[in-house]
């Protein structure tokens, strides 16, 4: 069974709960092929959180769906607790599905608004034949209490809840089958700031109590940093950099990460009245249906070299717990990598206010 405290303290060498290797997903339409995910690999250790951050079109939500096999990958491998998900039989898959759940941005949007909470949260229990009748009601109450709601909410309709409460119900529904892994796909993105903090705290508390693993996906860097043990930055279907959130944000090594981190509006009241003009990122992401050759970031990259146009960089470990996919860190480029992109400072961007799109 899952989720006792030992899992949290498991040594790093222990096999990860979930692993994806070289995931690829192409969507074919009549006119084009959308390269939504292009060789993404990640491991989620037990009791830990891996964060995926990226802009629209980065493929982060597709990764979420591939991880749960809600979408069939074009190629790549997926293992969950040692089981190869792509070769799992129907029966095995059914059993595994109980252990992997997802929470969406609008968890109740996909449910019938005339559904009562007891049905919304109880549905997975019925589907997986975990509990019925009295036992089901008891279990739903237990789940509701776990997420900060109560028995009094059992017979309310889902549309009567505010955004934050709806997200709690979504989480209770995900918890119903006693999962090991929960994928949070923009789970707090639509919430007001004051409520978002409540839900983040709830997710962290549940992780500590139940030993859950999270794949936490969001476009808000600060939220991902707060939640994740390891942060993966995605750009146009690829992970370009990964590492510890604090380190990544304090010292981004990939030029895209650097651009992303400095683009986030900064809440720094102490600096109001200083020169408040951050460097301005240039360009916009290319379309995933027509990704640039070579490194996908090269058309926007201030440090692009000729080889970036031709050759896609491989993921390279540059220090403990930090990997980057950028030619700047190739062995041949070691002299430059030593100083790193950051050493060259603001050259990475067009100059502030004067710059931008010209």
């Amino acid at each position: 069974m899952r989720g006792d405290a030992t899992a949290v303290e498991a040594p790093v060498a222990a096999p990860p709960l979930f692993e994806a290797r070289d995931l690829v997903k192409h969507f074919r339409s009549r006119r084009s092929v959308v390269h939504a995910v292009n060789g993404v690999s990640l491991k989620i250790p037990r009791g830990r959180t891996v964060g995926l951050v990226g802009e629209s079109g980065s493929g982060k939500s597709t990764v979420a769906r591939l991880a749960l096999r809600l979408l069939e990958p074009t190629s790549g491998e997926l293992t969950f607790d040692g089981v190869d998900l792509r070769r799992a039989s129907r029966g095995e898959m059914r059993a595994l599905r109980r252990r992997m759940q997802i929470v969406f941005q609008d968890p109740l949007g996909s449910l019938n608004p005339r559904m009562r909470v007891i049905d919304a949260v109880g549905e997975p229990l019925a589907v997986h034949r975990i509990a019925k009748g009295r036992a089901q009601v008891d279990r739903v109450v237990e789940l509701l209490e776990r997420v900060g709601l109560g028995a009094g909410d059992l017979y309310r309709f889902s549309h009567q809840f505010s955004g934050g409460q709806a997200q709690r119900i979504g989480i209770a529904r995900a918890l119903a089958t006693d999962p090991d892994l929960i994928v949070c796909d923009e789970a707090v993105s639509a919430l007001d700031v004051s409520v978002q903090a409540q839900v983040l705290n709830l997710l962290k508390r549940l992780q500590a109590e139940l030993g859950l693993s999270y794949l936490f996906i969001a476009h808000d860097l600060n939220v991902v940093r707060y939640m994740a043990d390891e942060v993966c930055v995605m750009y146009l279907g690829e992970i370009v950099e990964r590492g510890d959130g604090d380190a990544l944000f304090a010292d981004p090594r990939h030029p895209y990460t650097e651009m992303l981190v400095s683009a986030v509006p900064e809440f720094a009241p102490e600096r109001i009245g200083d020169d408040r003009h951050r460097p301005v990122p240039r360009g916009e992401p290319a379309s995933p249906s027509d990704p640039p050759p070579g490194c996908r970031f090269h058309p926007r990259c201030p440090r692009a070299m000729p080889r970036c146009r031709e050759e896609a960089p491989a993921m390279r470990r540059i220090s403990a717990g930090r990997t980057v996919a950028c030619h700047l860190y190739d062995p041949g480029e070691s002299g430059r990598a030593e100083s790193g992109p950051r050493a060259s400072g603001p050259g990475a961007f067009d100059a502030g206010e004067e710059g931008g799109q010209r």
């Binding site: 934050g164 700031v193 600060n222 940093r225 009245g273």
Partner: protein, 340 residues
Amino acid sequence: MPSPPLLEVNDLYVRFPSPAGPVDAVAGVSFTVSAGETVAVVGESGSGKSVMSLAVLGLLAPGGSAAGSVLLRGEELVGADAERLRRLRGADIAMIFQNPMSSLDPLFTIGDQVAEALRAHRPMPRRAARTRAVELLREVGLPDPERRMRAYPHELSGGQQQRVMVAIALTCEPALIIADEPTTALDVTVEAQILDLLRRMRRDHGTALLLITHDMAVVAEMADRVVVMYAGRVVEHGPVAEVLRAPRNPYTQALIASIPTPATPRDRPMAAIPGSVPTPAAAPPGCRFHPRCPSAQDRCAEEEPPLYDLGARRASRCWLHDAPWAGSAAAVGGEVRRAG
């Protein structure tokens, strides 16, 4: 030396009908915007900030009605006749909206839509309007503006669409631009570009900006002064540096504490505000924030506090400012009282 106000909003109410009777989405909001100044109105969902901004230009959805006063250079806009408002829209006050994709008419080219804004106020030949439109699109940094004149909205990215919206807003060199969550629907790198564009526009044209947003970080980066709204009420306002560094209202304090920043410690729970943001129809009696307020007292549930003038162009709506040590609490101008 503050210049006389360009826009003066005074005790503005916006009322909508509902099955349970009329609801005030905006309840007695007052603030001013001086020429060239950027004022941010910040609030969470249901605070009434967007509705308030639409009321300024008389663009409320059917059923909505405004009461109170909105003065543009001393001219009353609430109750002004439709033709007068039409002439002001786009010419003196322009607007930029949240969702650029749905804010441009899908059936007309970018060029048509920019030129239409020009020709609505200055009769000019089609050709001249197009030439000017290309200039504007170039100014807002739209790449290859001649070609994009013939493009339709769906052929542009979200960032490019928002640049077009800025170009439309700039056509008649308005004195004030109201930007309602202009970057909320955009990716963060594109958001930075649009904010930069708004700054440039403000500097090059001396345009005043009324920025409606939920994002305190955007407020910190953009605004000179900030108005904090909660459930239809202004709860605090003042110069942005002072309010954000040392908020006086418990709501502002709690809101700022709950913002995740790169410095938020990961091993501790975040400061959250309990409960949820009330809808205007379900606003509690007394102080609208009292059910969620850490400093709430009995009085807060019964009686709504006035907006206390805290000096230094700051004000806050909270009974805490009524404390005896705060000095003589004399009512000023009806609702506003002086404290400390």
